[in-house]
């Protein structure tokens, strides 16, 4: 009888012991963005907030290893993903530069049975992986529609294209062009390329405003470009005369809104994307099924809402 009671007690305690043992070993997730960039730093902040939340609520320690490529180049990113696979993490959280170009490397992760979650991008076709992010086209459309309204649906506008090889930048530009094409009195007179650099964006925007003195508005396709545009508008003394609707929520962008240089920005909520990517990765590591897509939405940030 005593033996039976002892066995029962041991069996009853096993899940608790197992849980305690699991919790003592941290889950290690490697977070690999497209490139070193302040937007991804905000995303990393959100990821760490999710890790803290999970630890506080469940006792499970979560380690986030942030590995950003120095350049937005698929082969460089693949190298980093492969090296992360070599360390056998509990999950990979990836912002894919090109889902087809990343495919072979992701297949290697699948072979090694490493769960993956993608954010700010979509997984390769046929891969059952949760994607966390916002609709890029919707983001560009919101920005362009807002600018169209600001300028009374007429006048010359310009688009800062971002990095020409980045699919999300190209998509935003296409959707912005579609919006402007709806209004016969709006003419897109110039498109600049900022390569996701504030300095380049500033130079391009200054040159375009010199060449097109009747320009009345700007939209952009990445996070750095609109900051450069705002600086160019301020330097040329055209704040208020040339309208700007930015993208994303870099601190410089928010300051431009506070200063009245830019009217607003359409932000794809990087902190929230990082947060839910970690939650999804944690669920995958626990063997739970996760949704196909988590839409973190678009925020329109104005001086009033800041």
């Amino acid at each position: 009888m005593k033996k039976a009671l002892l066995l029962g007690a041991v069996l009853a305690a096993t899940p608790l012991v197992a849980q305690a043992a699991d919790n003592s070993t941290p889950l290690r997730f490697v977070l690999i963005p497209k490139v070193v960039h302040p937007w991804f730093d905000k995303l990393n902040t959100g990821a760490r907030a999710a890790a803290d939340m999970i630890t506080k609520t469940t006792g499970q320690k979560i380690e986030i290893e942030y590995r950003a490529p120095q350049t937005a180049d698929v082969s460089s990113q693949n190298d980093i993903i492969e090296r992360a696979i070599a360390t056998h993490p509990d999950g990979l959280i990836l912002d894919l530069l090109d889902e087809k170009g990343n495919r072979a490397t992701m297949d290697e992760a699948t072979e090694q049975k490493i769960p993956m979650t993608v954010f700010d991008s979509l997984p390769p076709e046929g891969m059952n992986i949760t994607a966390v992010g916002a609709d890029f086209c919707e983001q560009g459309t919101i920005a362009a529609e807002r600018l169209a309204t600001l300028i009374g649906k007429k006048g010359e506008v310009a688009i800062m294209m971002g990095v020409p090889t980045a699919p999300n930048h190209t998509l935003r530009a296409e959707c912005e062009k579609k919006v402007f094409a709806k209004y016969p009195d709006i003419k897109v007179v110039a498109t600049g390329i900022d390569n996701d650099s504030i300095e380049t964006g500033q130079k391009q925007a200054s040159a375009i405003m010199q060449a097109h003195p009747n320009l009345v508005g700007w939209v952009a396709c990445d996070a750095s470009g609109p900051v450069g545009i705002g600086q160019a508008i301020r330097e040329s003394g055209k704040a208020g005369k040339v309208q700007e609707v930015g993208l994303d929520n870099l601190n410089d962008m928010l300051q431009l809104i506070r200063d009245g240089v830019a009217e607003s920005t359409a932000s794809s909520r990087p902190e929230m994307q990082g947060y839910w990517a970690v939650v999804s990765a944690w669920q995958s590591a626990m063997g739970q099924k996760t949704p196909k897509y988590i839409d973190t939405g678009i925020d329109v940030i104005t001086k009033k809402s800041l």
């Binding site: 120095q70 693949n78 190298d79 087809k100 020409p164 090889t165 980045a166």
Partner: protein
């Protein structure tokens, strides 16, 4: 340097310091001693500090990543020995990759024929660089900065910045395949390096390249066809860059316009680490590729050790400076003893 004598039949027991000095002397006497020593040191430290470093999976990763940068490094090293430099090699690699993708996907050409045409195109781009430099008497650094813009711009015009997808599967083994456990791109690198090293060390053309790099005027007076060799070297660099670009397309399965963006400075750094003089006339392609191995290992351990991305450039740059400094210090130490 101290001389040691040993009585017949006696067991030589040189002092410890002398043994170290002898070892350092042997290493330094070999032109590749410094880079090999640094490579062994980094390899050993990595093996001790990371349990993930010395795994077959990680070795394959290092070998495959080395292949692309290594191919470009061979061409750049030959140019540097010649006293030249080509900053358009990355752009040529990218252009060859996207042209290959377009020929295979959009034109529907046979993949192998497409690859051959791209290699020819790469060699042609390099030859054009060489032609402009020799005939217009331009400085290679300045000319190739401009040509990098031309080739990179052609890449953007052709692709509009969008990757070309649907590359035929027949060529994927070139980038992804393994033969006897070695990645195919790595084996291509070994073959190319062997051929170029043989030409550099065992043929008159190789000797001419060193002669031109040391003193082009003297080489010309000796009857060496300096301009023809310079153009040939640029064509070789273009060919190898195109080969790297095509292998990368096979690896990725798509022709990315960004291919080659990171192939400009690393091959030059690799060549310098490997003992190639920026002033020409010194070094070897083998040393340059060993320099690329060092850079590849550093890039690998940076990720394995979990170094913050903001510190990566400092760490990798610091290790490179340390590796070069150790080599220089060892030579200084021996020279001081000899005098």
């Amino acid at each position: 340097m101290s001389l040691e004598t040993t009585l017949p039949g006696a067991t030589p027991t040189p002092p410890k310091a002398s043994s170290i000095r002898a070892l350092v002397a042997r290493m330094v006497a070999n032109p590749l001693g410094g880079v090999i020593g640094a490579m062994i040191l980094i390899f050993g430290i990595s093996c001790v500090l990371s349990p993930h470093f010395l795994t077959s999976f990680n070795m394959i990763i290092i070998a495959r990543a080395l292949a692309f940068i290594g191919l470009v490094t061979i061409g750049q090293a030959v140019l540097m020995i010649l006293g030249e430099l080509d900053l358009s090699v990355g752009a040529i690699g990218g252009l060859a990759g996207v042209v290959g993708g377009m020929l295979m996907v959009q034109v529907g050409l046979n993949p192998w024929l497409s690859l051959a045409l791209c290699l020819l195109m790469g060699a042609g781009c390099g030859l054009l660089n060489g032609l402009l430099i020799t005939q217009l008497r331009l400085h290679s650094l300045v000319l190739t900065i401009g040509m990098a813009g031309v080739y990179g711009g052609a890449n953007l015009v052709a692709t509009r910045g969008v990757a070309i997808t649907g590359v035929p599967h027949e060529i994927s083994f070139l980038g992804r395949g393994l033969v006897f456990g070695f990645p195919v791109p790595f084996l291509v690198l070994v073959v190319c390096l062997s051929i170029v090293a043989f030409v550099m060390m065992r043929t008159p053309v190789g000797r001419y390249i060193y002669a031109i790099g040391s003193n082009p005027q003297a080489a010309r007076m000796l009857g060496i066809r300096v301009n023809a060799i310079r153009m040939g070297a640029f064509a070789l660099a273009g060919f190898l860059s195109a080969l790297a670009g095509i292998l990368m397309v096979a690896r990725l399965g798509t022709a990315q316009p960004s291919i080659g963006d990171t192939w400009v400075l690393s091959p030059i750094a690799a060549a310098v680490i490997g003992g190639v003089a920026t002033t020409g006339g010194l070094g070897s392609p083998v040393g340059a590729v060993l320099g690329a191995v060092i850079i590849g290992m550093i890039e690998d351990i940076i990720v394995l050790f979990g170094i913050s991305p903001y510190w990566q450039s400092i760490v990798s740059g610091g290790i490179v400076v340390l590796a070069i400094s150790l080599d220089s210090l060892a030579r200084h130490y021996l020279n001081r003893d000899a005098s």
